[in-house]
Symmetry: C2
Subunit: 334 residues, 2 copies
């Protein structure tokens, strides 16, 4: 399997993506198509002693700026590693794409260059979120579409359900709609209409879920418009970080608590690890006709390696083939 | 000071509100106007040995059902304790109102019976949320208006700013708009237009805040439409509960962690207390012409007492007078 990587996306580019790619070749048995300034990448790998075994290079002289307006950026930065990498994906020069570039530009490039699966209205950014009390769950959309129509939410349910069943092997995933109450009548028009569509969708829709119940395993797939999903994700991250800080302070308060902390090193490591997005790789952009993984902007080498692992699992599970098949069945039934 | 209390709202009514009211009379030096089934209340107080010193009773034979559609409920339940209590507030039979009844019905009753402050477009439910890293912050709207116009958000900033400066004595509170990015151009049309209005509003607007930064003291007042505010609140509650559970499990894992836990009893109590909404009282419904506090549905006696304390502080700080004055100044400047 060949993974195309944008080596000039993210805060630690190009060193972290190149190092992560080398780890991925070694540990995951994949090949890498490294997109970016080829001379610079090769020189850096030599200087830093990063193995380029299993690497191909595609030259793209520019890096896409983070703050550019997405549609404009795509037009102005045709030679950027993000755009050239996505074109390579569309052209079949690799099986999947991993990049930590600007989310907006990545979504637009994926949509217009790699294209959506036929019948899918919008791509959705998704992430598997730790749920302490029960199983982990997939949250989508995380912000690819900050305004949504009801049909889009219903399709996100299908995308999430197929991902969770085929990649995470969850049997008949429970799909829920994030809402401000359990009753069908709750929410704005968007939620009410989406609820009605989801009830008749070909997946295991279990109704509304309140954000309060998400960390307790209330569902396997939590569907929201990109605005709401982003708010849930960011709030979760913020409170998670704040609690981790609080626990640390608590444990180092005085000599007694420090002694107590010594006996809990293993448990604390477990807790920290359950919140560590670096171990979880990136966010799949579901609904695109080829596997695309958005890596976190602050990814280090390990995070990039795990994003490659996610791209590998996504591709091997044939999520896109299964979505295509499900859409055909829906169309046939209509 | 006289506080009007709906004794038939919340999961533990009428025992918990009556007990809380008795505590409030004793500890806060206030008087109570107890609204509900008068005979039943008196009999229960006698049976349970709850002091009714400082109590007046207003008879309202019905309890408002929780699930009723708010506007309908208000018409059909004119004799409910919620409605009769709100009318007593409008008629000046008390200085403030505390109730744990259905949020929707409470907001509608407050809006149409106690009325809004002149010039205020919508009332907003607000709550002061613990912020571990820094100062606590006020979050509003929590769901009184699940869809908002930009002017409403701008007014919420004014309401929150005046509350935080006069009740919590925060000097020149930093008001921020919850958004999915720091840049002015972020968000949907609602956020973009609200941002522009808030920049020119007569309070200390510091721009957008991401939900991720809220627990670290990024602002003193976080403004959102009721949908978004509710999602932030519920996510915060959920993750808080999940972490508390996780810490407990961590500390009781084996004999060593249990010994460690013994030495941290104080710190754990501190952490738990910082998350305990019961200590924080209820949610003020800001923008109404009289002080109204929505107590949590699951409030116990202590929580009701603290809601009375909050009503007392809200009233004493003359939040409503200050809002009225600020609105007059805005109008004059136009």
């Amino acid at each position: 399997m060949k993974i195309i990587m944008d080596m000039y996306g993210g805060d630690n580019a190009p060193l972290a993506p190149l190092s992560g790619a080398a780890l991925a070749v070694k540990e995951l048995g994949i090949e890498i198509v490294a997109v970016g300034n080829a001379d610079e990448m090769k020189a850096l790998c030599e200087e830093k002693n990063i193995s380029t075994e299993g690497f191909e290079f595609i030259d793209a002289p520019l890096a896409m700026p983070v703050c550019a307006e997405p549609t404009e950026a795509l037009k102005s930065y045709k030679e950027s590693s993000l755009t050239v990498g996505m074109q390579a994906l569309a052209d079949g020069l690799g099986d999947a794409y991993v990049g930590a570039g600007s989310t907006g530009a990545l979504v637009v490039a994926a949509t217009f260059i790699a294209k959506r699966i036929k019948g899918i209205k919008r791509g959705a950014l998704a992430s598997v979120i730790p749920s302490f009390g029960g199983n982990d769950y997939m949250l989508l959309d995380l912000g690819a579409n900050s305004e949504c129509r009801p049909e889009m939410l219903s399709q996100f349910g299908l995308l999430g359900s197929i991902y969770m069943s085929s990649v995470l092997k969850i049997e008949n995933p429970r799909v829920a709609l994030i809402n401000i109450g359990a009753e069908e009548s709750k929410g704005n028009d968007l939620q009410k209409e989406a609820h009605a569509l989801m009830k008749n969708a070909p997946y295991n829709f279990i109704g509304n879920v309140e954000a309060r119940d998400l960390p307790f395993g209330a569902c396997d797939v939590a569907v929201a418009d990109g605005w709401t999903g982003n708010i849930v994700l960011k709030t979760t991250e913020g409170i998670g970080l704040a609690f981790a800080k609080q626990i640390k302070q608590m444990l180092t308060k005085n000599i007694f608590t420090k002694l107590g902390a010594l006996s809990m090193t293993g448990s604390i490591a477990e807790l920290k690890s359950s919140m560590d997005y670096k171990k979880r790789g990136g966010a799949p952009l579901l609904g695109i006709a080829k596997p695309v993984i958005k890596a976190h902007g602050s990814s280090d080498a390990e995070a990039f390696k795990n994003a490659c692992l996610q791209a590998k699992l996504f591709t091997e599970a044939d999520v896109i083939g299964k979505v295509t098949k499900a859409l055909a069945e829906i169309k046939e039934a209509e």
